[in-house]
Amino acid sequence: MDLELSDDEAALQAGLRSFLEGRFAMGAVRAAADGLDRGRWRELADTGVFGLRLSEDDGGVGLGMTEAVLVFEELGRSLVPGPVLATHLAAGLVDGAADGSTVVGLIERPATVLLIEHFDALDVLLAIDDDGIWRIDLDGLDAEPVARPLDPLTPLHRVAELASGELLAGPEVAATWRQEGAVLAAASLLGMAARCTELAVAYAGEREQFGKPIGVFQAVKHICADMLTRAELARGVVYAAGVTLDGRGVDDAGRLVAAAKITAGDAAKGNGKACIQVHGGMGFTWEIDAHLFLKRAIVLDTVFGSVDDHSEAVGATL
């Protein structure tokens, strides 16, 4: 039993972080508000992010959910824009997803409000429901852009209705995607929660009031300590969920998936809010990144089951 990263796992994560810090620094990330940078998308694909779990024979990296969790933690930490989760899930099902030549979007249905993320960047749109995975004809869609999306880095289009589309995979694949999607969204949320902690701690250590860094004051210090606590509470269970989906676990996978999405969602939203608070007035400005983390957290809480949805599901197991 070992829930600490192996040397290979740590190297994978460190390598990706180094790449993302170079190519997806906040300036580049913020530029995505004006549209997806296909060149950078290809570079991302070249690191193996999308083909990570495809076998090497199929042009992938041949790794599992354990490693995918570490990868998505990093993608979340750097707020990498674009439909990364949908494209990752679609690798192997949609040609060109793995190598970055095809950008794939995903919409969950049924839903009262049908919002498609990153619509203008998409080559392929998939829909997921209880019956399977469907390919939706993009040309036949009457999609209206949402003028001011909450998260400026997650542009949205609204459609009034969706055709049923072409069935690509059945209910079992859909159920698997939902579990994997929930865990990988949780991993992104974990990375965001941890990054918010770092940003708040750095600011609390340098911003001075009353002649001292504000991090001296317990009123601020304790906010930061609670941020770390929320992130670390999520970290263990997010990792455990990934490992368990790879068949190397001992506990019920369904419970772990739900607990991962719940605690990571709480951590990212809680830490996003706390990060704004620690930054004070600056935290409420567009210039400071804190709001981008909170807004993405709100977006990710709505995919593959919210905190409420998963809490109810866990309740049903009791």
């Binding site: 192996s6 670390e232 607990a259 009791l318």
Partner: protein, 395 residues
């Protein structure tokens, strides 16, 4: 990362299960919590059974009579004993988890030979004399004096929050031996026999209505100088040694018990009705209870991470304070949900007919101690903020 157990760990679990299946039928029901003499006898008997079966001091090194089990085996031990409702470490807590490890690391050979076997066999009960009325979170400001008089120390002062004081044979005690030195440098660590003349024990009544701990007064209590462990005035460092022995397993039994409490509370919520429907019909309540269960699952995963780290590095790293902060918050939320589910049945600490409310109400009260005992939530946040996150110190 891999959560599966090795063949050796599975074999350890199987062997332990086999022994527990034989041993548990011979263990009677736990005595009333406030009957300290009976509780001490019960805990001592269980410890002797563990000793005879080779499970005493599960994580103590073999050279001191322990089993030398790995952190993962320790986790398995706690998991299996909780699963069958075996007695807790109880009144053996201070000896096995505090005084014993300190003696192993810091004491003389004579002290080791005398004390360690008696702790392992359950023959000696220990209590802890660290906190004082004026020295709580600021423990190093303790004032209880020990003055040299020939071969003896003469102790005067007062300790507080001393669990098991009335049944303990020995007290691990921090005393001030140099009042002029900086506060961390004038403290010594002593072994004090609890039958020494001049010790007065006064039980404190807690919000649970019982007396888990006492105030202990020392009036010219004489203790041989050879009872000191470590150098004179080096007691603060000696006391800190114990904490590095903690490997992330401190709350395993409590955590597993909490998971059972949540499951049982859900079962009660399916039975009790109000406003014409079972409480469990309330979707908001189901979500809240499910959320609590998820947090406990996450705490269980965090425990696995802490133990993994201890297995690699020998210490659990940052996990201890983080665990305690999250655990106490979850337990207190559980307390609030308990009030709502039980409604009027939450008003009785004892079981009402057909309700099974007692342990939930007791747990509800116990939860309030989790953010105070063993370092308050506020002190834990300071530790996390300063030692883990590197924020500047206030002092």
């Amino acid at each position: 990362m891999d959560l599966r157990y090795t063949d050796d760990e599975v074999a350890f679990r199987d062997e332990l299960r086999g022994w527990l299946a034989q041993a548990m039928p011979t263990v009677g029901p736990a005595p009333d919590e406030d009957d300290w003499t009976a509780t001490r006898a019960y805990d001592a008997a269980w410890q002797r059974m563990l000793y005879d079966a080779g499970y005493a001091g599960i994580n103590w090194p073999k050279e001191y009579g322990g089993r030398g089990a790995s952190p993962v085996e320790h986790l398995i031990f706690l998991e299996e004993t909780e699963r069958v409702g075996a007695p807790y470490v109880g009144t053996n807590f201070v000896g096995l988890l505090h005084a014993g490890p300190t003696i192993m690391t810091e004491a003389s050979d004579a002290q080791k030979q005398y004390h360690l076997p008696a702790i392992l066999k359950g023959e000696h009960c220990w209590c802890q004399g660290f906190s004082e009325p004026q020295a709580g979170s600021d423990l190093a400001s303790l004032r209880t004096r020990a003055v040299r008089d020939g071969d003896e120390y003469v102790i005067n002062g007062q300790k507080i929050w001393t669990s098991h004081a009335h049944v303990a044979q020995y007290c691990e005690m921090l005393v001030r031996t140099d009042p002029d030195a900086p506060k961390h440098r004038g403290i010594s660590w002593l072994i004090v026999p609890m039958d020494a003349p001049g010790i007065d024990i006064r039980p404190l009544k807690t919000i649970r209505g019982g007396s888990e701990f006492s105030e202990v007064f020392f009036d010219d209590v004489r203790v041989p100088v050879v009872n000191r462990v470590g150098e004179e005035n080096d007691g603060w460092r000696v006391a800190m040694v114990t904490f590095s022995f903690e490997r992330g397993t401190a709350f395993v039994s409590e955590l597993l018990y909490s998971m059972q409490l949540v499951a049982d509370l859900a079962a009660i919520a399916k039975q009790v009705t109000g406003h014409g429907a079972a409480a469990w019909e309330d979707r908001g309540l189901r979500r809240e209870v499910g959320h609590l269960a998820a947090e406990l699952d996450a705490l269980w995963a965090l425990t696995r991470r802490n133990i993994s780290q201890a297995a690699r590095d020998g210490v659990p790293g940052v996990g201890g304070s983080v665990f305690k902060l999250a655990y106490s918050e979850t337990r207190q939320k559980l307390g609030d949900v308990t009030d709502r589910v039980l409604h009027r049945a939450a008003l009785s600490i004892d079981d009402l007919p057909g309700m099974g409310n007692g342990r939930h109400v007791q747990g509800r009260l116990h939860a309030l101690a989790t953010s105070i005992a063993a370092g308050t939530t506020q002190i834990q946040r300071n530790i996390v903020g300063e030692r883990v996150l590197g924020l500047p110190k206030e002092r």
